[in-house]
């Protein structure tokens, strides 16, 4: 069961969004986040939601799948909503003891909630419709101009590549160790949190040992295959912007202009 854990939350599909150059998608995501902060009224959000909706439709990622990713932030969403709705001062429309809800409070609470939902949905589209490895590749290439200033673009990308490769291996290892400990009578399921945390120590120690072992072996294997950092390295997959990438990029720019105009004149 632990073998088919999906990494990140990539949703495999054949769609124009999936096929886009990762750099275009990263740019789009960054622009979308900026746009959400430029927007200062609900019609602006309506435009953003419409665009995002169109992207989701084209990407063939089921809405259910995207919503599943929203679950962990539901708490934050409610928390900020509650905070805004009760804390903002203004025209009181409902009161109970020290709690009071104002007209402005409702507006800001809804405003913030919409922004947050669009923000999370928008940025999760990036990881849903881009293979993790392409994403690291795209990031490496976008950040490589900063490498001259000492920014470790290649190193970070390499680390992410290796992490993606070895997370399943380490999960399997964890599974194995836990089973081995269970066979010797270890109990991971009962007792309070502290007891359960303590029970995990005999799992973590061998896990760390094996992680270091892997690191050592892998470093040796990489050196044997002539790895010497990012300089002078070529890539199997060249990243060339295709027509569709350029079209997508123009659409992104047009969308940005639209949002700026909307925020200014409405």
């Amino acid at each position: 069961m632990i073998r088919d854990i999906t990494l990140g939350q990539y949703y495999p599909a054949e769609s124009p969004i999936h096929r886009l150059d990762p750099r275009v998608k990263i740019t789009a995501t960054l622009l979308f986040i900026i746009e959400l902060f430029i927007v200062d009224n609900f019609p602006g959000f309506a435009i953003c939601a419409a665009v995002l909706g169109a992207v989701i439709l084209v990407s063939r990622v089921p809405l259910k799948f995207i919503m599943r990713g929203m679950k962990p932030i539901l708490f934050i969403l409610f928390f900020t909503f509650a905070l805004n709705i009760f804390m903002v001062k203004g025209e009181v429309i409902w009161e109970l003891g020290f709690l009071h809800i104002t007209k402005e409070g409702i507006r800001i609470a809804v405003f913030m909630a919409v922004r947050l939902v669009l923000l999370i949905m928008g940025s999760s589209m990036l990881t849903l419709a881009t293979k993790p490895l392409n994403l690291t590749d795209g990031m490496e290439r976008m950040l490589s101009p900063f490498a001259k200033l000492g920014f470790p673009a290649h190193e970070i990308a390499m680390m992410m590549t290796i992490a993606l490769r070895f997370i399943p291996t380490l999960l399997e290892e964890t599974d194995k160790i836990m089973k081995a400990q269970q066979a010797r009578g270890a109990d991971f399921e009962s007792g309070n949190i502290i007891r359960r945390a303590k029970a995990l120590i005999p799992v973590l120690v061998p896990l760390f040992v094996s992680a270091f072992r892997i690191a050592q072996d892998l470093a040796m294997a990489m050196e044997a295959r002539c790895y010497r950092g990012g300089s002078g390295r070529t890539r199997l997959h060249e990243m060339k912007l295709k027509t569709r990438d350029i079209v997508a990029f123009i659409l992104e720019a047009a969308f940005l202009v639209l949002i700026i105009l909307e925020a200014r004149y409405f």
Binding site: D217, C226, T234, R235
Partner: protein, 282 residues
């Protein structure tokens, strides 16, 4: 005959803590490897096999003595990448030597490091995957493959660098019998295609196809020669707690029982032939 590797009086010590005695893993070893040959290196755990392997491609540098790979000295910092491109290495653990979560990207890792043109990398990756019969697994994730398949990917990754020599450090030790067979078949094929193969193993049966066997014991060469010659000296091999191939063992027992078969038989076919000859004589 061209020599692709020359080892001269190689000694290697692992230095650990400051106050601790260094561990002498290799002690004054000398040998040469012919171009296109197939050499098997055997020895007990801790006899220095892996240390030797790592000295052959500059992963470790001799404490004293020297190692030359196609004329390059492994001590020469400038030549280290030339050496590693020429002498590829496949390790024991198939899991811990694959870098990427996509098979073809992993095979491309070596050529990418060499700075080869993308189109040429593509050709090499496809060819290397075909060579190990893993063509249809190009886009798969390594962690979903069997041990033998992972090891084949690791071999493809080395083959794609177009090395002259491939050093295998116990490539089958962690595999099931099926995986072991697959890997041995590929190693033989690579040798037939003209690669120089150095196979480190502790399975005696895997030395049968080699044209030379080197037995390592406590950091020294105990025996070195053609398998038939080396395994004739079964008593010396057993004396250091190593086994001999099954057929050699059988031949020795038959001789002890007064049955006249040649000493040092390693192949089943040869044994069958020897026994048939005996039968026709009687």
């Amino acid at each position: 005959m061209d020599k692709v590797i020359t080892v001269e009086d190689l000694t290697f010590e692992y230095t650990r803590g400051e106050n601790e005695e260094p561990v002498k893993a290799l002690d004054g070893i000398s040998f040469e490897i012919d171009k296109g040959s197939f050499t098997a290196i055997i020895g007990k755990n801790g006899s220095g096999k892996s240390t030797l392997a790592k000295n052959l491609n500059g992963l470790l540098i001799p404490t004293s003595g020297s190692v030359f790979v196609e004329g390059y000295d492994t001590r020469d910092d400038e030549a280290i990448w030339e050496i590693r491109q020429r002498a590829g290495m496949v390790f024991q653990n198939p899991d811990n030597q694959l870098v990427s979560s996509i098979v073809e990207d992993d095979v491309a890792f070596g050529p990418e490091n060499l700075g080869i043109e993308p189109a040429e990398i593509r050709r090499r990756v496809d060819k290397a995957l075909e060579d190990v019969n893993m063509g249809e697994y190009k886009m798969k994730a390594p962690h979903l493959l069997s041990g033998g398949q992972k090891q084949r990917i690791a071999i493809a990754g080395v083959v794609a660098m177009r090395p002259e020599i491939i050093i295998f450090d116990e490539p089958t030790a962690m595999l099931d019998p099926k995986g072991r067979k697959e890997i041995m078949a590929i190693i033989k094929e690579l040798h037939q295609d003209g690669k120089t193969v150095i196979l480190i193993t502790h399975f005696m049966e895997e030395t049968i196809d080699a044209d030379r066997v080197i037995i390592l014991n406590e950091g020294k060469i105990l025996l070195d020669g053609a398998p038939e010659e080396v395994f004739k000296r079964a008593d010396e091999i057993r004396a250091v707690n190593l086994e001999v191939p099954m057929m050699t063992d059988l031949a020795d027992r038959l001789i002890k029982e007064g049955i006249d078969v040649p000493r040092g038989i390693i192949r089943e076919e040869d044994m069958v032939e020897a026994i048939c000859r005996l039968k026709s004589q009687n």
